[in-house]
């Protein structure tokens, strides 16, 4: 189940648990409210020892803190992924890259990078940026329809179409 933002109806993409004066405070916020609350920037001030612990945990494949990670496109949390073994969208591979890499490496006989067929239409980094953009556009389009903002939805649909035509 997708968790909603504490302040609005959007899916929560930032999750945090803080202990302040012995009180446990959980926060689940969408992108907008997270940046308003300064949560999104907070990571920039992470003390160096915490950085190190995170680094060690990441490389040992432990998922104690990483279960809090969620995909900023589809909202899937890493814990949900671990439960069902299914990614939610192409962007999950980017969002979960840290905790996912050791798991994949183990499952794939040490394989970490793709070798083999590449679609003709793919031209390096550029196409990945394009795929991300397309994913974001379609999501906004879906949201617009849900919010019954059909004018915006139509505009976004045209944008998606232009985007796809440019590619072919």
């Amino acid at each position: 189940m997708k968790r909603k933002c504490d302040h609005c109806e959007k899916p929560a993409t930032h999750h945090s648990v803080e202990i302040i004066k012995g009180q446990k405070i959980e926060k689940h916020l969408c992108d907008t409210h997270a940046s308003q609350e300064g949560l999104a920037i907070k990571t920039a001030h992470t003390p160096i020892n915490e950085l190190l612990t995170n680094f060690v945990k990441l490389h040992s494949g432990a998922a104690t803190t990483t279960t809090e990670v969620s995909c900023d496109h589809c909202g899937l949390t890493f814990a949900e992924f671990r439960e069902h073994s299914l990614m939610g969208c192409p962007n999950c591979y980017t969002a979960f890259k840290g905790p996912l890499s050791p798991l994949v490496e183990r499952a794939q006989e040490g394989g970490t990078h793709h070798i083999g067929k590449v679609p003709h239409r793919v031209h390096g980094q550029e196409s990945e940026v394009r795929q991300q953009k397309l994913l974001a556009l379609r999501k906004r389009m879906g949201d617009a329809v849900t919010n019954e903002d059909y004018e915006l939805a139509a505009r976004l649909r045209d944008e998606v179409r232009r985007f796809e035509e440019d590619a072919s």
């Binding site: 996912l100 994949v104 006989e109 394989g111 793709h114 070798i115 394009r130 795929q131 879906g142």
Partner: protein
């Protein structure tokens, strides 16, 4: 073309004509693909799932897939038809489940390929061939992939390759498998060695109907599990040069050992199978598969010539529950099916 026409003949993969068909029943290659810019099936909204289905249908039915295509939307399919497609290996068991996801399958008229839409991945393209024909199966699946890719953008990343819902398929998205008939290894108790060796080589060993199914009729599906960090050709070469030839050699040795050291017991098994199949009045699916397996072994070793391999292969399929009901044209309970099954077998084996 319709589903009804499908039931009237066995699929290409069951002709039993391909190379090494005395051991290799069929070769199968499957590619997993998803469209760029959409969530995967399990997390997409119903609208998005439908949009993906529509785009895939548009492309599959308009592009040249190398054969006439039958498009089947599974929610419009009666249960018995969905089961029929599973028995013919044209869809997975998961794909036959009716839920809210709009699912479809495109089937090539010769039944050499099928494309599942909105399975675990949005596209599961598979090619099936009889006998050991992995090379030509790969060429065909690659051509279909190219034809789809000329119109559809696939989710792909430089590092991870083709992006799939489950990371165990990520990279090439390829699953190479062969269906092997290994009765002698089973009879001599050597089969566990093969299982262990396969596991050490990171191969999956499954039964007749894939994941979670038992090895009924001494039929084993062996497939690769690694999809990231190894190219398609490399995986294919492993099967063609090492894995399959070695298992064929083991099975052949075991067959020769049976003839040399246990010939009367071997013949007893084969002729008992013949006796039961031609005279029994009720038959379960499990029993039929086991008896057909021994009969097939007998024909391949020249110990019995009352029947040919195509007839046996045909019976492997036509005695399955959905096929049986399609052939008799009525739905039946288990007891009725067992009678109809025994009758069908007697008719097909006693026709001379």
């Amino acid at each position: 073309m319709s589903l009804r026409e499908l039931t009237e003949h066995a699929g290409e993969w069951l002709r039993g004509a391909g190379p090494h068909n005395e051991v290799v029943i069929s070769s199968r290659i499957r590619l997993a693909r998803n469209l760029a810019g959409y969530s995967f099936v399990n997390r997409a909204t119903p609208r998005m799932q439908q949009e993906v289905l529509d785009r895939c249908r548009e492309t599959i039915t308009k592009q040249d897939m190398g054969d006439e295509v039958l498009w089947v939307e599974l929610k419009n399919c009666p249960e018995v038809d969905r089961q029929l497609l599973v028995e013919r290996h044209l869809i997975s068991r998961n794909h036959a489940v009716v839920d809210k996801v709009p699912r479809a399958v495109a089937i090539g008229a010769q039944e050499t390929f099928s494309i599942m839409v909105n399975e675990e991945d949005q596209l599961r393209i598979q090619v099936l061939r009889s006998g050991m024909q992995l090379g030509s199966a790969f060429d065909q699946v690659n051509r279909i992939d190219d034809a789809l890719e000329s119109k559809l953008d696939f989710a792909f990343s430089q590092q991870w390759g083709y992006l799939t819902a489950c990371p165990t398929n990520v990279g090439t998205g390829i699953r190479v498998s062969v269906m092997l008939h290994l009765p002698a290894l089973q009879l001599t108790g050597e089969i566990d060695k093969v299982r262990r060796a396969a596991r050490d080589m990171h191969l999956a060993v499954r039964g007749l109907f894939g994941e979670g199914s038992e090895a009924l009729g001494d039929l084993f599906q062996i497939s690769n599990q690694t999809t990231l960090g190894r190219g398609e050709e490399e995986i294919l070469a492993d099967f063609e040069r090492t894995i399959v030839p070695q298992i064929i050699a083991y099975e052949t040795q075991a067959r020769q050992a049976l003839i040399k050291q246990r010939s009367s017991q071997l013949d007893d098994k084969i002729w008992r199978a013949w006796g039961l199949l031609t005279h029994a009045r009720t038959m379960s699916t499990e029993e039929v598969l086991q008896l057909l397996s021994h009969l097939r072994l007998g024909v391949n070793l020249g110990r019995i010539d009352t029947v040919d391999i195509p007839t046996i292969n045909d019976l492997f399929l036509s005695t399955q529950p959905a096929h049986l009901q399609k052939l008799t044209g009525s739905e039946m309970d288990q007891a009725a099916r067992r009678e109809a099954r025994a009758k069908l077998i007697r008719r097909k084996l006693n026709r001379s």
